[in-house]
Amino acid sequence: MEQDNMSTTIDIARDFTRTPGGRYISDGPFSGELFRDRLLVPALRKARQNGQPVVVILDGTRGYLSSFLEEAFGGLVRECGFTRQELNRLLEVKAIDEFYAPYKLLAKRYISDARERAIAI
């Protein structure tokens, strides 16, 4: 993870893995859940305090399963209490190489489609 005065950058290939896995930790190594809980959520919580956005770079991996992306990005809204408006402000997903453009679209789509988990009283 790289931090400067303006933003925090998470390069998935460099900071997490070049071979992302499935959805849950129980499904195998380098899952979306692990990425979200280990890297994304702590960076976003820090971003909430200091207002500096988090940039996630998708390039450099062998590709992503949609289940990984859904759990990592949609899970922020569904499981971790972030709102879509907040993520629009604090999170930027980048795909520099054209190869990763559909993955970027998916990550954004999962954030906008995710619903906050209903709280039962």
Partner: protein, 211 residues
């Protein structure tokens, strides 16, 4: 040299050059359409494997053989999708920007249908709705690929793109950049139209005075 012979030779050389260029263009067009066919076959193959995969659940009491077969299907589906991504990069070079955006959207939808949900999970139920959804996404995608390829694979467009490639200007890829480009273009076209109008008016005034 005899001028008549010179004329015949020149015509022959020009004719040969035109035939050669036409043949090159035809090869390029056929090769491109072969890639389009390959992509469409690949999409339908992924859809078949995906539908097969999602129509079988992975429950704790599943047999070892079935479990191994599902694992193999996961590897095959992800491998084929990676292959499709590379084909996408080859094909989209002749798509318009609008078609390219739509292509990316449809690829994302197809990928979501194939490898979304609980794909690669250790325990999941069969999902027939998803199996159906894969075919819908595949049909949308193949239709768009053929449609966009037919629109983009034209000689004048390819020449235009080749010329554009040599210019020191790169077209913006972001939406904001494209809007900015459009505004500048409208501004310059407006200036050009106004200038042309003024020149024509001045010329007609001058002609009227002269006559």
């Amino acid at each position: 040299m005899n001028p008549a012979l010179q004329g015949i030779l020149l015509t022959a050389v020009l004719g040969a050059a035109a035939a050669y260029l036409h043949q090159l263009w035809k090869y390029s067009k056929d090769a491109y359409h072969a890639r389009v066919d390959e992509a469409c076959e690949l999409i339908l193959e992924i859809a078949d494997r995906g539908a097969e995969y999602w129509s079988v659940g992975r429950l704790p009491d599943i047999s070892f053989t079935k479990r191994e077969r599902l694992k193999l299907a996961e590897v095959q589906i992800t491998g084929r999708i990676a292959q499709l991504q590379f084909l996408r990069l080859m094909l989209q070079s002749r798509f318009s920007l609008f078609d390219r955006d739509r292509f990316n959207e449809l690829i994302a939808t197809f990928q979501d249908a194939s490898t979304g949900g609980d794909f690669a999970s250790n325990a999941r139920d069969a999902d027939l709705q998803r199996a159906n959804g894969i075919y819908v996404a595949a049909a949308d995608l193949t239709a768009h690929v053929r449609d966009a390829a037919g629109r983009g694979n034209r000689l004048w467009l390819i020449i235009f793109r080749e010329v554009e490639r040599w210019l020191p200007y790169r077209r913006p890829v972001t939406r904001a950049g494209r809007i900015e480009e459009l505004l500048w273009l409208s501004f310059f076209l407006g200036l050009f139209a106004t200038g042309s109008f003024l020149v024509i008016r001045a010329l007609s005034n001058w002609l009227e005075a002269a006559l």
